[in-house]
């Protein structure tokens, strides 16, 4: 089985790689972009098969050989694998459907799309309050930016509108986290 950290590593790595190979042309960057999405879908499908067909038990992976909060911990079970395979399939299908606007916008759109998918995958797999917050913010910021740099009319106004509830979503997340922490303390 391929370790699920490779889902994060591939998407984040390609996010850094694509701008550096931009000069190679849109065919090369496009191929790398779609290959990355396909490989991530392949990894999540492998886990989906592992749980749904082979009927394996939930796996918890502690990175760095430490227990949380010192390490990042991921958990994959049947439910997580369903969400992962759905997200990665939707990402691949969406990227194929939006081939024209993605190529028109260039590497910027590809990088933001990869970061968005990475955030969603991390959000599903992580079992750590702190990392949930980090992945949630990655998803939020890449969504605003993706909205702003795609080829839609009046896109910056739309991006500003999506940016505005930033404080409130953080407030709700923090309120929930605090209630959880206070409950645990007593």
């Amino acid at each position: 089985m391929v370790n699920p950290i490779y889902i994060i590593a591939i998407l984040l790595g390609l996010g850094f790689l694509l701008p550096s190979i931009e000069k190679a042309g849109s065919k090369v960057t496009g191929t790398v972009f779609y290959a990355g999405l396909l490989s991530v879908f392949g990894i999540s499908y492998q886990w989906f098969r592992h749980f749904m067909i082979d009927g394996s038990e939930t796996v918890q992976i502690l990175y760095g050989r430490y227990k949380p909060p010192l390490s990042i911990n991921f958990q994959i079970g049947s439910l997580e694998s369903v969400f992962l395979v759905s997200i990665n399939f939707a990402a691949l299908a969406g990227a194929i459907y939006m081939t024209k606007p993605i190529f028109e916008t260039g590497v910027k759109a590809m990088v933001l799309f990869l970061l968005l998918i990475m955030g969603l995958n991390g959000l599903i797999m992580t079992r750590d309050l702190f990392n949930i917050f980090v992945f949630m913010e990655i998803v939020a910021i890449s969504t605003y930016s993706l909205g702003a740099w795609t080829v839609l009319s009046d896109r910056f106004r739309q991006a500003l509108n999506t940016c505005s509830p930033e404080g409130s979503h953080r407030f709700f997340f923090f309120s929930g986290s605090l209630s959880f922490i206070r409950l645990q303390a007593h």
């Binding site: 910056f156 106004r157 500003l160 940016c163 930033e166 404080g167 923090f174 922490i181």
Partner: protein, 106 residues
């Protein structure tokens, strides 16, 4: 936080709206730090004053502080991003008034 929300909802100038957003974020962070403190407990630093075996009962949970620290950093990035959008909008129509941008309304 409420002052910031009031600013965001009542102001028409986009820079003032983003200032409101920054005030909301600061308010949320202050609430988080204030409520994350548990009375009678000390800072989450393990030294001679805090034995490791009693640490769970003697120190406050460091997660709220870590979350706020991250939130401050992300908040700066979000404000910078929002200001970028404002600059782009201003370059397009030479106006900072949000009511001048009605293309998305129907």
């Amino acid at each position: 936080m409420i002052i910031g929300m009031w600013g965001m909802l009542t102001q028409k100038n986009m820079i003032k709206i983003i200032l409101g957003l920054a005030i909301v974020e600061t308010g949320v962070q202050l609430i988080m730090v204030a409520f994350g403190y548990i009375g009678g407990r000390t800072a989450p630093i393990l030294d001679s004053a805090v034995p490791v075996k009693d640490a769970a009962e003697m120190i406050v949970d460091p997660v709220p502080q870590a979350l706020v620290l991250t939130a401050i950093v992300i908040g700066v990035a979000v404000n910078a991003l929002a200001l970028t959008f404002v600059v782009k909008l201003y370059q397009k129509r030479r106006s900072l008034n949000i009511t001048d941008y009605k293309d998305l309304k129907w």
